[in-house]
């Protein structure tokens, strides 16, 4: 992306009080907002996009920590609050979480359409949806990751699965163009190979005449109860910006959109705001291999596997660069040194489970959104199975010891027998499992009625004709796969309906 693309205003340069007007105001530039904006701009509408984060720097070779500080929301420290603490990293950058995700792309599983139809009374045009998914595959250059570019840890796990006699693993499809396997997907792709929104849809929309204001935070909607007429924003230079528009598209992500609506005073009108939060709780198992592999080289998230008996458990590769790895190893002192000293020999594989219940997002004035979330016994069953499978696969590959993501004496096992003996299901406790979560969804989900959701199947709020929600918060989770394509397809369909 260019340093100063045409049509972009910088919040750092806007001072004083400023008014803007447009036909459609899109708040948020993540996959949902970008997909919608692109369609609407192409259709000739006057689109103004507002983004809180900065434009990612090109070729800066940021350290992972710097990337987290600059482009992650709350520097990556946002987490559920109670009773268990699960960090949920999301992006706060022009291009949204797509800039800092791993770039995996999945089509929406067929079973979800059935579920949405059955539970929420929302029937999508599946044919149109699949067509849009095809278009998106082309736009984003979605292709399976070649084996030679995979991270060594993914290859080790794939081979380990074969040795265990489990089949069904496959390379992940990723949206990339010119990837050389630097292994820094999550910290802004250094050579702009990963097709994040700021490299793909957003420039196209800007070419079509879309305007964008970055580094500007939307504070709240201006409305008279029935109709929304504007949005108040604050630029990073401290100026007030009021945007008047005919229609508004909220695409701030599943954690910010409900907070924004609650802040704007929509609590009474939409009882479902903030409920039904699905986050795929995830974790990983580290293993020390006999020889040095340098697992941070290569695409870390390039291989996936699902066991037929456990459809809710999804295995996907993950590996962190050394410095971040130190933060993810839960030890102190000599234990930490011990593991960090052999970081080049470590291999890891991750997994996530489809949540069996929903969390809830609560807004307290003056605070970041508070999230209540816990892991159920069913989730823990999935975790247990996944941890054991990954550990066994690594032992099959000759791992010397594995580090299990639990706060328990049995967290380090040095052989498969020891694993069987010491690692028991009763060691698993929601508070003693280290987990993260990656795909927040459903806090303003689509539904046929107001008590189940906030928007209809075209993203329109049930009680406000001119407010649309086109992001992860509209998509009812859990999906069981990476939701980027699903969110984009939903947005694109909604935008086409709008246009």
């Amino acid at each position: 992306m260019k340093e100063r693309p045409e049509g972009i205003l910088f919040g750092t340069e806007i001072t004083g009080y400023r008014k803007e007007s447009c036909e459609i105001c899109v708040i948020g530039s993540g996959p949902g907002g970008a997909a919608a904006a692109e369609v609407l701009a192409r259709a000739g509408h006057d689109v103004l996009m507002i983004e809180e984060g900065p434009i990612p720097e090109k070729g800066a070779r940021l350290t992972p920590q710097k990337a987290m500080q600059r482009y992650y929301r709350d520097s990556g420290f946002f987490a559920t609050l109670w009773p268990v603490q699960v960090p949920i990293p999301t992006g706060r950058v022009f291009g949204g979480t797509s800039v800092i995700n791993s770039g995996t792309c999945f089509h929406t599983p067929e079973r979800l359409f059935d579920r949405w139809e059955r539970d929420l009374g929302v029937a999508f045009d599946r044919k149109a949806w699949r067509e849009v998914e095809g278009e998106l595959d082309e736009d984003l250059h979605v292709s399976p990751c070649p084996v030679e570019r995979m991270s060594p840890s993914d290859r080790i796990f794939a081979e380990g699965l074969e040795r265990l006699g489990l089949s069904g693993g496959k390379p992940l499809s990723r949206c990339e163009d010119g990837c050389d396997g630097q292994g820094l997907c999550c910290f802004v792709c250094p050579n702009e190979a990963k097709q994040a929104m700021h490299l793909n849809l957003l420039p196209r929309a800007l070419e079509q005449g879309m305007r964008a204001i970055v580094e500007t935070r939307a504070l709240g909607l201006i409305h008279d109860g029935a109709r929304v007429t504007g949005v108040v924003c604050q630029t990073s230079a401290g100026a007030r910006l009021v945007v008047r528009a005919k229609r508004f598209i909220l695409a701030m992500g599943a954690l910010e959109t409900p907070d924004f609506l609650l802040k704007s005073g929509f609590r009474r009108r939409y009882p479902a705001i903030g409920r039904n939060l699905a986050i795929h709780p995830a974790s990983k198992v580290l293993a020390e291999m006999p020889e040095s592999i340098g697992a941070w080289k290569g695409v870390p998230q390039a291989y996936c596997y699902e066991h037929p008996d456990y459809p809710d458990v999804h295995f996907e590769g993950i590996f962190l660069p050394p410095s971040l790895g130190s933060a993810s190893i839960p030890f102190l002192g000599s234990d930490l040194c011990d593991w960090m000293g052999v970081y080049d020999r470590l291999s890891a594989f991750g997994f996530y489970v489809s949540d069996s219940q929903y969390g809830r997002l609560i807004r307290m004035p003056g605070m970041r959104p508070l999230i209540r979330y816990t892991l159920t016994e069913k989730d823990l069953d999935g975790f247990y199975f996944a941890i054991k499978t990954v550990a066994r696969a690594h032992f099959a590959m000759g791992a010397k010891r594995v580090l299990l993501p639990i706060a328990d004496p049995s967290d380090v096992c040095s052989s498969e027998d020891e694993l069987e003996q010491r690692f028991r299901r009763e060691n698993m406790h929601p508070k003693r499992v280290y987990s993260m979560a990656f795909h927040p969804l459903g806090t303003c989900r689509f539904a046929g009625s107001l008590d189940k959701g906030v928007v209809d199947q075209f993203g329109r709020c049930h009680r406000h004709d001119n407010v649309f929600i086109c992001d992860g918060s509209a998509v009812a989770g859990p999906l069981g796969v990476n939701p980027q394509i699903t969110i984009m397809a939903f947005s694109r369909l909604a935008a086409r309906h709008m246009a």
Partner: protein
Amino acid sequence: MKHILLTGFPGLLSEELLRSSREVHSDLFWHLVVLPEEVAGATARLRELDFSVSEYAVYPGDITKANLGLPEEDARRIQAEVETCFHLAAQTDISASARDAHAVNVWGTCQVIEFVKACPNVRRFNYVSTCYVSGTLEGELAEDELPEPASFRNEHERSKYEAERIVRDHMDTIPTTIFRPAMIVGDSQRGVTTKYDGPYIIIRFFRWGQRLFYWMPNLGSDDTWLNTVPVDFAGAVLRDVGLSDEFVGKTLHVADPHPPTTAQAWCAFYHQISGRTCFGISPGLRKLKLWAMHHFPLDLLTGMPARSLDYLEHRGRYQTSNLEEACTRFGLRTPQWEQFYPPVIKFALLHRKYAANAALIREFRLWCMTFRVLYALTALGFLFFPGAVARFLTMFDGAGGAATMVTDNLLYRPLGISLVLGLFVAVASLERNPFQKPLHILIIGGKFLSAGLYFFFAAYCAAFCLFLGGLVDGFIGVTHLLFYYRLRRVRPMAGGEIDWNPFGLLFPQRFVLDFTETMTPALAEPINIPGVVSNIREHVRQLPFVIRYGFVLSCYYILLILPCFSGYPPYFLMSEAQRDRYLRHAQNMPNAWLRLPLIFVKMVCSLYLYQEAPYLRSIGAI
């Protein structure tokens, strides 16, 4: 040089006698016969009174023994030199047993008489008796006679009567003057005293009684008299008459010629202590109350011996013609009770408790200092070597470990209990009715909270560590509670001079007046006491201290709880599995949000540590 033998030193009257004699006469030499165990105190006291060694000689002795218990040569020398003798030593405790009272008062007096008889140069024997040798006799009592009363109120009176009888029998062989002081109270100007009996018992009764009863019945009557005399007047009479050559063979009532009736005295005491007046009751009701108080174990509740109530029924009046003659002769003014009551009462309100608790408070201060040093070391250690100190603490001090368990599981329950206990402490520590003014509630709140915290930590230290082996904490906790129990009696004072704070031993107790200095009559300047300090003013005065202590306390408790944030719980209490879990996992323990600062620090530190080039090179990342 005039050589004088004095018994009964140290004592209130004898000290006053020494002090005042020195002001008038410069050529006196005092031979003091002092009980062996009191010699050190007596010497110190003399030094305080500014006596030089050329003015006195202290002999360890005992008046109940032959030759006053003195070695032969000492006795011979004294007998050769002595010209005047003051016999003040006596058992003055009205609750003393007959055996004790007679041993000192009767037998001791006999020994002194025998000793004086052997003095060739003796020109004067001054015997201090008491007005109350009159026992239960009523009406005007003459000075120069000793009628035998029908009965005595206690053994003290009986023994003094018998002693005086013996003295009178020897009057023809020894030139004797008998002094019969009434109840001796403090200095008429400043009220300074070291002895708290007689009317002081009533003052003590009012001190708690005025909190209990808003309206106090007047238990005095109009036909009984409370005869008190300030010690400086008694001392002056003793000095002037005793050192002169006049009044030989006479008896002087060293008493108030115009004493208040007990009703007047009762009213005066009560008014000055509480600011209120008491109401009169019918004589029948009064008798009933006195009888009830007499037969009720009042002294347990009030510290007011039932025997002392007897003197409210004392119907005797004392003629003071000899005394008045002496006053005219030596230019003394008889004291007016209206004038010397206020300073006497003020001094009593301020100092009574200090006398009783001086040693205890001194001990307590020492403990305070010790523990403060310990805690300061701990706190400093936490600042510089948190890990090491926490490990050390958890090894043999239960605090760190118990704190972890408490914060993880038990924090709220003990805190709740402690708040309830704190309520009792707070209310108990109040001087008066708590809810008179809104500000009280604020201040009570502060006390309440701090008392709660104090109790919480004291109790948990005591409870956890006694059976868990944390000896230090157990010791500290028990000491806390013990001292609290022992010192709780120090607290309720109308003037509120001891600032008992409920934070226990962590912080210095504040003593406004230094009792060791103000206790002595050698006090340089008069004590400036602004009447009875009102309760609210006292509380307001304490407020900055409450706030300051609260701040320091919270800092300390944060330091104390640090071990549970730092992931260094009590290893010795844990199973191996638990220990492993605690030792290795700082991050994802239950209530991890309590340790969020630690987790944050750990993550950030490790992030920066492991992005350094040497490390990355070592694992081949660059």
